[in-house]
Amino acid sequence: MSLRVVTLVSEGFHPETQRPRRADCDARALDMALQLPGARVSALHAGDPASPALRDYLGMGLTDLTVLEVARECDVGAALIDYLANEKPDVILAGQQADQSETGGFLPYKIAQELRYLLLPMACSMQIDGDAVEILQARPKGKRRRLKAALPAVITVSPAAPAPRQVAFAKQRRGHIDAKKVSAHDQSAPLTIAPAKRRPKGARRVDADLSPEERLKAVAEMAGKQGEVLSGLSPEDAADKLLTYLTSNGFITPTSPQATEKDNH
């Protein structure tokens, strides 16, 4: 029996223009699924079947895409869980976060919990080996870690995963959207949504709580500091200074620069 993979895809939006498109992480997830050898890949969306963004996924090489028709204000999670509980795929792939996420990436966790699947987060590559899956997890500062678990599993795909394939126009047109009516679930939590206010960036914000003297010091430390200037050195001395600076500030390790650093979670 071949491996059954469902990729959850959401409506994406370009961050600058707000034009609908395939969602960044979801497209990477679908690409990863399509590259799995011998897998039966399908894509699933809950929402409006007429959304133009969905056609982009078809353009990546799917013949059809299942859409659970759910009104905007209803709970897409419950609809997806009902459907997936019936389907019981071996692997559920999702984006780490939707382009226009309200929950900040919580949906895959909820699905994993309800279906009793394990969740492997932030994958940038994956391999299936029998009934186990291995992922390379993207961690901050370009670090990677390998995780392994038994199937079935939910895997979220990081924006650090390889860029997805192009969208082919003909396939985008030809692909079929299979809309399914589902019973509605209401969303319970009352939310107030307003346009985002501009906030000062982390590094520039100085504490409003400090005394003027302390504040002055903090600002002086942050900005006006002109660094060390070295001139008239021979190339060898300059190279020395550069490498010493890197070592003494811990940007490289002195003995073997490529030694894998200790991973203490």
């Binding site: 939006f13 949504i193 000062p200 060390e228 190279a239 550069l242 620069p257 979670h265």
Partner: protein, 366 residues
């Protein structure tokens, strides 16, 4: 009568300016020297030990999960303090810091109690283990809120805890407003306000840092049934990836070349030896010396490296925009007037090509 108003002391006024919360200079007349307004008396800065805040019988608990990373932990602790001290005042609650390993100096960072969870067994995935232990701990220590800092690692743990509790979390909370919290969502285009949920992760700036007070940081212990926590995800350990396979945005150390560079072999060698990610200005990406996805700047990538090494780059505004969020900048340039040198923490005036060759030679030998 007949007395003239004292002349304004312009320089004194300027001297009394100080930077405001955004860094702009502000003038506060109360703090101005004589001749303007009467100087307000400031209490001498206390050198005594800060007062100790004691909670004997907390009415409620706020858990604050720490990672062992100072900045993120302080963000979480200050938000937890705000919840304990402001949101539910006058009821007195306790902030319980929770971590997998003991953490120092929690007394002046805001913890009333500290709880150390068992470390994940070797080979188990720490986030999953921590989430399960936290959910178990919540049975014996019912907390109103569990606060995390909003890093990707902690968000993973927080999402697991929320899922296990069957509740919706709030991620990236950046302000509190009474019993509601505000977070950004929909690709940072919207601010979402909702009741503060049990599980939340906070951005820095959500609450004022804890200062000038000491807390008990009393150790507490909870019986956690260890065999009851099967860990199912295996952690096979860190994997080294060549720095050049890492996206520029993620790279911690970047070696960048500009139009001043022609020693490309030495550039590649040095990058490889330092395990630095290669990047360039628009000029070198335009002329094909480096691929387009290596361009740093306004029309390229915005990078956040801890250290950015700019070789033969003049530092045009469009380029500087790309490195705004870098920690340290090292610049090598033949022109002592190049704008990049102003942004540099270490500036070397000299021929970058010769320096690259010398560095490649040294690294080869080492």
């Amino acid at each position: 009568m007949g007395q003239t108003r004292p002349r304004r002391k312009v320089h004194a006024r300027r001297a009394a300016m100080f930077p405001g919360p955004t860094g702009r200079l502000r003038y506060d007349p109360r703090r101005a020297p004589n001749g303007m307004l009467k100087q307000a008396r400031r209490a001498p800065t206390p050198t005594l030990q800060a007062p100790l805040y004691v909670v004997e019988n907390p009415k409620f608990y706020i858990l604050c999960v720490l990672e062992g990373d100072t900045a993120g932990d302080n963000t979480a602790l200050s938000a937890a303090r705000a919840l304990a001290d402001v949101t539910y005042a006058p009821a007195k609650g306790a902030v319980v810091s929770v971590a997998a390993t003991p953490i120092d100096a929690l007394d002046n960072r805001g913890a009333d109690r500290t709880l150390t969870l068992a470390r994940a067994p070797a080979g188990a995935f720490a986030a999953e283990h921590m989430a399960t232990s936290l959910t178990v701990a919540l049975h014996s220590l019912p907390a109103r809120h569990v606060v995390f800092s909003d890093t990707s690692t902690m968000r993973d743990v927080a999402a697991r805890v929320a899922a296990q509790l069957g509740e919706r979390p709030a991620f990236g909370v950046h302000a509190f407003d009474g019993d509601r919290c505000i977070r950004s969502g929909f690709g940072s285009t919207k601010d979402i306000k909702a009741t503060i949920p049990t599980v939340l992760s906070v951005d820095d700036g959500a609450a004022k840092p804890v200062r000038g007070q000491r807390f008990e940081a009393r150790c507490i212990a909870i019986d956690l049934p260890s065999q009851n926590m099967p860990s199912c995800i295996m952690d096979l350990g860190a994997e080294a990836v060549p720095a050049n396979h890492v996206a520029l945005e993620e790279a911690p150390l970047i070696l960048a070349a500009g139009a001043g560079i022609d020693a490309w072999d030495a550039f590649a060698d040095v990058a490889e030896h330092l395990n630095a990610t290669q990047a360039g200005s628009r000029v070198v990406c335009d002329n094909g010396s480096l691929p387009r996805d290596r361009q740093v700047g306004a029309s390229g990538r915005l990078v956040t490296a801890d250290c950015y090494i700019a070789l033969g780059i003049s530092g045009a505004l469009q380029h500087l925009q790309g490195i705004e969020d870098c920690g340290r900048v090292i610049a090598v340039n033949t022109d002592p007037a190049a704008p990049i040198l102003k942004r540099a923490d270490l500036a070397i005036i000299g021929d970058a090509n010769a320096i690259l060759k010398a560095a490649a030679h040294k690294l080869e030998e080492a």
